[in-house]
Symmetry: C2
Subunit: 247 residues, 2 copies
Amino acid sequence: MKPCTEVMADHRTVRAYDREASIPEAHVETMLRMAQRASTDATAQLYSIVRIRDLELRQRIADLAGGQRHVLDAQEFFVFLVDFYRVSSLLTFRGEEPGHYPHLAFLFGAVDASLAAQNLALAAESMGYGVAFIGGIQNHPRELCDLLGLPPGVLPLVGLCVGVPRHRPPLRPRLPLDAVVHVDRYHPPDRTHLAAMFEAMAPISSSGDWLDVLRRYFARGGVMERREEAFRRVWEEQLKDGSTGRA
Amino acid sequence: MKPCTEVMADHRTVRAYDREASIPEAHVETMLRMAQRASTDATAQLYSIVRIRDLELRQRIADLAGGQRHVLDAQEFFVFLVDFYRVSSLLTFRGEEPGHYPHLAFLFGAVDASLAAQNLALAAESMGYGVAFIGGIQNHPRELCDLLGLPPGVLPLVGLCVGVPRHRPPLRPRLPLDAVVHVDRYHPPDRTHLAAMFEAMAPISSSGDWLDVLRRYFARGGVMERREEAFRRVWEEQLKDGSTGRA
């Protein structure tokens, strides 16, 4: 077993899985139990995990996520959910009225779910498996809610593939440490810093220019902006109207 | 060095730190570098970390978070931020117009920041330190934004104490695995499940009734509802109006 920091230092996203291989059920259970050990806000565990075993369902989700082959090829695929339906049900069961806090539910649910997801990912990697987070489940969030039968108060956050790697891609670069870590106060980058960031990240794009990735996702008319309206509606339906308060 | 899953299995929140002890700077750098190795959406690293070294500033933040002594006692205190100011600056620097997607920015920024935060926490624990996530930074989010000088597009997410533990509290319970993990479809809990959840979680409250914690935070008039309005305004100012699009 490798030390924890070695597992982290060695992380790369794996998208090519050996379809003939399998993961013992005991390993999957360990991953899920490690997910549960993550810190959680006010003891409440404001998330759920859907383990997608049905292959037809997996195909539907892979299609919704933009035809991502690795969603189908991975031995396991999990959808992490922000979940306030459970805590509202627990309160209602005991005669208490749940509160209504759609923005903070989003925040604390997203943190709880992500801490658990990262534990699951690292546990998997420490056992030799490869992982890939899938943001593409946000392409069609309403359809995903319906497919998974999500009640009010529950919102799909992120997907996670876990599988036996067919090969290990090279390590990917990261921003210079001082671009991410600020001391005492946020220090906006100047032009020299911005140029250094593009230089550090250049190898991440096949074109050698990080801008090609950033433009595609984050610029006007890009992937994020195209996804925004559908996601806003789902957030309103599931958390704001569907609510934390009406389990 | 303990294996990764052992570090996770052994996690407890530590709030009592040895104020006489210290953490070598090399260890802090390892924690921060491990945070950076976490997966990130579309290569963009949509988060920043503010390391709070100034003790007067630390005191101010501890006060805002509700007088949490451990924020002050911990050797290190980090504030994790959702950060779209950087990616907008990178796009603008290269002549591109950033998009506008305040809900998805919240989502993808919160996931990126939390995956990084969990890596930092586990790296610290694997080196023998104790950690505590601090949700209380959401008590007065506007004041925190001002204290840290956060530009538009940047939103405080969660705090994290890291320190030398004075003692190790007992392991805390978690929900039954099948209350958190669903197969293929969300299965709403019935009354038997809900009763089993209260039973499993009972030891987490000094009163022996988990409801006391859940009511305080999540019921009508509770902590979350009291925080909601101020947080909604900050989210609107920083991400919706302040925007992902106006770096």
